[in-house]
């Protein structure tokens, strides 16, 4: 099933991902669901937000959804997202799930990890 998802990225996903699938279908913005968990406005947080925005703008234009969550304000998300380090970027979709920790300054590694093939 996971193969299907990867091959046919825009098609509806399996039931397992329930909500996200619906969200994706409705928004129609693309197949990348990214969540960035930050802990308040620390220098690391600010850098991470800037970096991910830049990466998304450059490589995932029009096919991503980015949520930024402040776990200080919403600590429950830290538990649900199994967050240990901050900042953490979670690639919820497409599978497999990946986590990027740190200020996201190492763009190359992130692109590799996000499986973005088309590099410019």
């Amino acid at each position: 099933m996971s193969e299907t998802k990867q091959d046919d990225a825009l098609s509806p996903l399996g039931d397992t991902t329930g909500e996200f699938q619906l969200a994706l279908e409705e928004s129609g913005t693309g197949n990348y669901l990214l969540r960035l968990y930050v802990s308040g406005m620390t220098p690391n947080s600010i850098r991470a937000i800037e970096n991910i925005r830049q990466i998304c703008a450059e490589h995932l234009e029009g096919r991503y959804q980015l949520e930024i969550i402040d776990i200080y304000r919403q600590p429950i998300f830290a538990k649900e997202g199994q967050i240990v380090a901050a900042p953490t970027l979670v690639k919820e979709l497409p599978p497999p799930l990946r986590k990027f920790i740190g200020d996201l300054s190492q763009t190359e590694r992130i692109l590799l990890g996000l499986d973005i093939r088309t590099k410019r």
Partner: protein, 586 residues
């Protein structure tokens, strides 16, 4: 909240302690873990770290009303719940009542990509959130070292760990952090450098194929603590540590007595039996009746309504009951009534220390007045002599402290005195009864004597110890020129004596009859003589009277003649008259 303070160290700020509620641990730590600080529990795989951490929380929640948070890096919440259900801890129930919160922190190296500067704020927030949501007073983290496998930047990790422990201190929670044992260090990643207040080390050693779990307090800053290795037990009731260092010699000494169950043995002990709370040792070679003596003691105690705990290392419960029935003791009824309980185990089942722990716990649970250990010497097979001695002294001290009468039997090899067992134990025991086999005349007989009995004037006599259908009986042995005789020898000797006595009495009777006869004979003779004499006397008297009569007649005749002749001569004087009178009668 039960806080214990200790006064040993003259510091201004007395270290406050948080009782763990774990059996024995609070005793050796002098009240518990340092309150509001993290403590490190380290040890090898499967030594019980997680269990200790969890029990700390569960006891806190159930006994001290202190909610706790369990941060698990290794097992998922469901797994933990399942694992601890077998120990009787209902984690779901505690969680539902807001007493316990399980948080599983999932760290998967393959999912994580490090892309620059980071910190572990996520973990802090989660922990902080979890603690705040139930107002946690206790925290357990199991095992934080998993972080080292999930993150590669050790510099960040170490600084974050330091921050974590500060964070826990600031939160004022008492925390138990577990750590895996390292090769040369206490923990693989040196957690001990962060947790400096209290370090507890758990080990699981195997010696002579017997595994023993032990606990040691490596460090406890600002507090005195037991420094030994203490064995502990993990079982369906959780964790129990045995504070086995000798408790001291200040136990009370009751003066009342308990019957031995054998009247004549009681009478050998001033007619009252053993002192309550004393320790009794019965030694003897195989088959001398040690267990029977124990059974009598137990039976008598149960009859009085005292609870007895019987540790049997040789026989099963049913076997003991069956065997004792053969000497007329029904121990089964006491088991049914709940005053007697058997704990049977093989000595090699676990190490000596473990036996001690198990016995301790059984005693704590059952609260007996009398404890029987049958036989104590079998424990030797589980350990060295020195260990046995130290274990026994701790056990005896413990029993004395509880004023429990201890009855221990010990098997001696060869039947002589001063076997290996006794050397180690005799000084610990208050009363020592020796059962021996007396061999002679082609048979073996049991004998009993009291080698010592502290604080009472006991009999110095050897008694024959007979096992009859109606229980054990003590009999006087035959002591005489032929030495000490027992059994058939004694019976034969008694019969011989009886025969001799009979013979003697018959002889006396015979002589008496002889005497009677002689007496009768003499008397008969006397009677015959008297009869002869009487007839002779009669005859003589008749002759005399005849003579007298004759003389009178003559006198009369003479007088008549004189008168007739008118003679002037007077008759002879009257003095002869009686004689002549008598003659006259003749």
């Amino acid at each position: 909240m039960a806080e214990t303070t200790i006064n040993e160290t003259p510091v201004l700020e007395i270290l406050q302690k948080c009782p763990t509620g774990i059996k024995g641990l609070d005793e050796i730590t002098g009240g518990g873990l340092p309150l509001g600080r993290p403590a490190l529990v380290c040890g090898g795989t499967g030594c019980g770290k997680t269990l200790l951490a969890m029990e700390f929380l569960v006891r806190g929640a159930t006994e001290y009303d202190e909610p706790g948070v369990f941060i698990s890096f290794e097992e998922k919440s469901e797994e933990l719940t399942k694992n601890f259900a077998s120990l009787g801890f209902d984690l779901n129930d505690l969680a539902a009542r807001g007493k316990l919160l399980l948080d599983y922190v999932h760290i998967e190296r393959s999912e994580i990509e490090e892309t620059g500067e980071y910190d572990l704020e996520g973990l802090f927030i989660r922990m902080g959130y979890a603690m705040d949501s139930i107002g946690a007073k206790r925290v357990a983290i199991d095992t934080i070292e998993t972080l080292f496998s999930g993150f590669s930047n050790e510099v960040i990790l170490r600084s974050e760990l330091r921050r974590l422990f500060r964070f826990l201190k600031d939160k004022g929670v008492t925390a138990v952090i577990t750590g895996e044992q390292g090769e040369r260090t206490l923990t693989r990643f040196g957690l001990e450098e962060y947790v400096a207040d209290c370090v507890i080390f758990l080990s699981h050693q195997v010696a002579n194929q017997i595994a023993t779990r032990r606990l040691r307090i490596v460090k406890y800053r600002g507090s005195t603590h037991g420094t030994n290795e203490y064995p502990f037990l993990l079982d369906e009731q959780g964790f129990s540590v045995m504070p086995i260092s000798s408790i001291g010699l200040d136990h009370s000494a009751p003066t009342d007595r308990v019957s031995t169950g054998i009247p004549r043995l009681d009478s050998m002990l001033e007619g009252k039996g053993y002192y309550r709370g004393s320790s009794v040792l019965v030694t003897g070679s195989a088959g001398t009746g040690k267990s029977s003596l124990a059974a009598h003691f137990v039976d008598a105690a149960c009859r009085r309504g005292q609870r007895c705990l019987y540790f049997a290392f040789e026989e099963s419960r049913n076997q003991i009951i069956r065997n004792m029935r053969s000497i007329g003791l029904d121990l089964g009824q006491w088991v049914d009534k709940g005053v007697l309980e058997f704990r049977n185990s093989r000595p090699t089942l676990y190490g000596l220390e473990m036996h001690l722990v198990v016995m301790h716990r059984a005693i704590e649970e059952f609260r007996p007045a009398i404890v029987v250990i049958d036989p104590i010497s079998n424990l030797l097979s589980a350990a060295s002599e020195m260990e046995v001695k130290s274990m026994l002294s701790r056990l005896i001290d413990y029993l004395k402290m509880k004023e429990i009468t201890a009855f221990c039997s010990a098997l001696t090899v060869g039947g002589g005195e001063g076997g290996r067992t006794e050397e180690g134990m005799s000084s610990l025991m208050d009363s020592w009864i020796l059962l021996q086999s007396l061999e002679g005349a082609g048979e073996r007989n049991r004998s009993l004597y009291i080698l010592k009995s502290r604080g009472m004037r006991h009999s110095n006599q050897v008694r024959e110890f007979c096992l009859t259908d109606n229980g054990a009986k003590l009999q006087d042995v035959y002591v005489g020129s032929g030495g000490v005789l027992a059994g058939a020898g004694r019976i034969a000797q008694e019969a011989r004596e009886k025969a001799e006595a009979l013979e003697r009495s018959q002889e006396i009777e015979c002589k008496q009859r002889d005497l009677e006869r002689k007496k009768a004979l003499v008397e008969a003779r006397i009677a015959a003589l008297r009869i002869g004499f009487d007839s002779e006397e009669d005859e003589l008297e008749r002759a005399i009277s005849r003579g007298k009569l004759h003389r009178e007649v003559v006198t009369q005749d003479t007088l008549a003649m004189g008168r007739a002749r008118e003679a002037d001569a007077t008759p002879p004087p009257e003095g002869n008259a009686p004689v002549s009178g008598k003659r006259e009668r003749r």
